[in-house]
């Protein structure tokens, strides 16, 4: 076990090192792709906190990304001189507050009811975004300008691909790490245990409904943060950002990556963005292939990519163990 966590630490360190040094060698196109992957990683990780850790299938995660994106975009347009992180903060806060409100309405529900209600709320916000033309731009979408970050002694030029990449990496990276930390806290364990045995947790004295609501609000917070960066990254927010398709994206990423491991969705987000880029060069019908891949994975690999990797590692481990075992047996046979 100790050895295992040490390898994980080394692996994590190497990945961080690669992520930080990549801009020195990669082309701007690759860096842009990587930035998108990082933003969607947080989105997928926050979705997995609901699906994988809470056991709650939500079809309304897209609305929080959309709320974050629209608020950040609209505020930048309306408040002159609003700083970069001011917009991020406002976007994230709006998503969190609405997450809290929706979470209160969902208090008593779980399972299919939960899936259904979140879907209805997402449809409501989608309809609102289309109708509220004055703020969201309706079907035309909302152009977003990306302000520079003023640190006092130096101004960071945010139009620069590399600078935006580093800012995203640090902020979103910290948020992802915080999500990971959350799963280790007492609150995180409570959520996990409520998923496993709700009645017993109730008996011990926890309130499952409240812990579900806190989890929901927290994921809304992170999705809103990802949404704010989404707006600033694309410099444009369309109604697609708040649609059910956006929720679908979270679900696909998370499921393809694997819901059972924390970093599975990160893998899934990276794979999804890469695969999407790769396929859209070949065919316009890439969502179809994504859907077929999804159904195949539901049928044959319900643990996702990370599950596949884990079973491969275990297979190799068992092969290795088997060899040593046989040797030992030979020795004892003599």
């Amino acid at each position: 076990m100790k050895k295992d966590s040490k390898t994980t630490q080394i692996l994590g360190f190497i990945i961080l090192l690669i992520l930080f040094s990549l801009p020195f060698v990669a082309k701007p196109y690759t860096i842009n792709l990587l930035t998108e992957m990082i933003i969607f990683s947080l989105y997928a990780v926050s979705y997995n906190l609901l699906l994988g850790f809470g056991g709650l299938l939500s079809f309304g995660h897209g609305m929080f990304l959309g709320l974050g994106a629209f608020t950040a975009g609209a505020m930048l347009q309306r408040i002159p001189g609003l700083p970069f992180f001011g917009a991020v903060l406002l976007g994230t806060l709006t998503a969190t507050v609405i997450g809290l409100g929706v979470g209160c309405l969902l208090l008593r529900h779980k399972g299919s009811y939960y899936a259904l209600l979140t879907l209805a709320f997402n449809a409501l916000f989608h309809a609102l975004a289309i109708k509220w033309h004055g703020v969201t731009g309706g079907d035309d979408g909302l152009p977003v300008k990306r302000p520079n970050i003023n640190l006092g002694f130096v101004e960071l030029p945010m139009f620069d691909v590399t600078v935006f990449y580093y800012v995203t990496l640090v902020v979103i990276g910290c948020a992802v790490l915080f999500c990971w930390y959350f799963t280790k806290t007492a609150m995180g364990k409570t959520v996990l245990l409520v998923r496993e045995n709700e009645e017993r947790m109730q008996f011990i004295g926890y309130n499952p409904a409240v812990s579900r609501m806190i989890l929901f609000t927290l994921t809304a917070f992170f999705a809103g943060l990802a949404g704010s960066f989404y707006a600033l990254f694309f410099k444009f927010v369309g109604v697609d950002a708040i649609s059910i398709d956006m929720t679908t994206t979270a679900l696909l990423m998370t499921f393809i990556g694997g819901t059972k491991s924390f970093f599975g969705p990160v893998l899934g987000a990276g794979f999804y963005i890469y695969f999407q880029n790769f396929l859209s060069n070949l065919t316009d019908r890439w969502p179809l292939f994504m859907g077929i891949l999804f159904v195949i994975m539901v049928l044959f690999a319900p643990q996702g990519l990370s599950g596949l990797i884990r079973s491969l590692v275990e297979l190799f481990g068992r092969l290795g163990n088997g060899k040593t075992f046989r040797k030992e047996k030979n020795v004892s046979g003599k």
Partner: protein, 286 residues
């Protein structure tokens, strides 16, 4: 006065469509505990089938007969070869599977028929208008109303009076017990799932000329059907009838009286029902 009657009729027509879609959804949920996200995709698929078939044969009545049957077969195949496979993995995977199927169907439709809305002409006597009590109203809308009432009556007869219906109703209550009593529940599930698909398909065919055939039609009715079964209560057919009627009138009069917030009205109703009676109007507390 005439305006009010016309809007009541509009609401009834939409309620009829909604009932056809949501009755299958609520029965399948009651029996198999699976919330079928692909249900409205069957509706869309049938509408597109009817478009092609109508272009080919020119006979709307043929579409009305063949398309639901095609959907019945497709539904049966999906239940038998896909849904049953993931049953052991639990509800979450079943839900995800139906969701994936819905996704694939919608992409296939985009691929085959394109993304532009398709016009459809019924032809024959259904195209005209009828004058009743001084109100001129399209014949086709009366036809939709007639169809949904007939199907509703047929369904209640089947469910209440036949042996098959008794089995289905008991399976909605407790499918394990029904299985233990010697009924082949997997076959029953397949049959009800396919029947739900066929009903949804029928709704799709008759919805085609009424609303337009487009790629957003599945999501639009799916959300409304979900709201119907939340308000009516899961697994309750009477609930589906009552909630469909309510949603139909709200949609119709919302567009007349509060055009700005008409979209939000049904969600408002849903929120009120959820707060006062979380299991729905006719749902059992589970």
């Amino acid at each position: 006065m005439n305006v009010i009657i016309i809007f009541i009729l509009h609401g009834l027509v939409y309620a009829g469509l909604l009932f056809l879609v949501s009755s299958g959804l609520t029965l399948v949920f009651g029996m198999m505990n699976v919330l079928n996200f692909a249900h409205a995709s069957f509706y869309m698929l049938a509408a597109y089938f009817s478009y092609s078939l109508l272009k080919w044969t020119g006979n709307f009545w043929l579409c009305l007969l063949i398309c639901p049957f095609l959907l019945f077969v497709i539904g049966a195949l999906i239940e038998r070869f896909l849904l049953r496979k993931v049953h052991v993995l639990g509800h979450l995977h079943e839900l995800l599977l139906t969701f994936g199927i819905a996704f694939i169907i919608s992409e296939m439709v985009k691929w085959i028929w394109g993304t532009a809305p398709l016009p459809i002409q019924v032809g024959g006597f259904l195209d005209g208008n009828v004058t009743i009590l001084g109100i001129i109203y399209p014949t086709y809308r009366f036809f939709v109303l007639f169809c949904s009432i007939m199907i509703g009556l047929l369904m209640s007869y089947l469910l209440l009076k036949t042996r098959m219906g008794i089995t289905v109703r008991s399976a909605v209550d407790d499918s394990e017990m029904v299985n233990a009593l010697g009924v082949n529940t997997p076959r029953l599930f397949m049959f009800v799932f396919a029947l739900g698909a066929a009903l949804s398909g029928l709704a799709g065919v008759i919805a085609g000329p009424l609303l337009s055939i487009n790629i957003g039609m599945a999501t639009a009715i799916l959300v409304d059907a979900f709201v119907v079964i939340v308000i009516g209560g899961f697994g309750s057919l009477i609930g589906a009838v009552v909630a469909s009627l309510m949603i139909g009138q709200i949609q119709s009069f919302g567009a007349l009286l509060f055009p700005k917030i008409s979209l939000a009205l049904i969600y408002l109703l849903m929120a009120i029902v959820l707060i006062t009676k979380p299991s729905g109007l006719f749902g059992e507390k589970k």
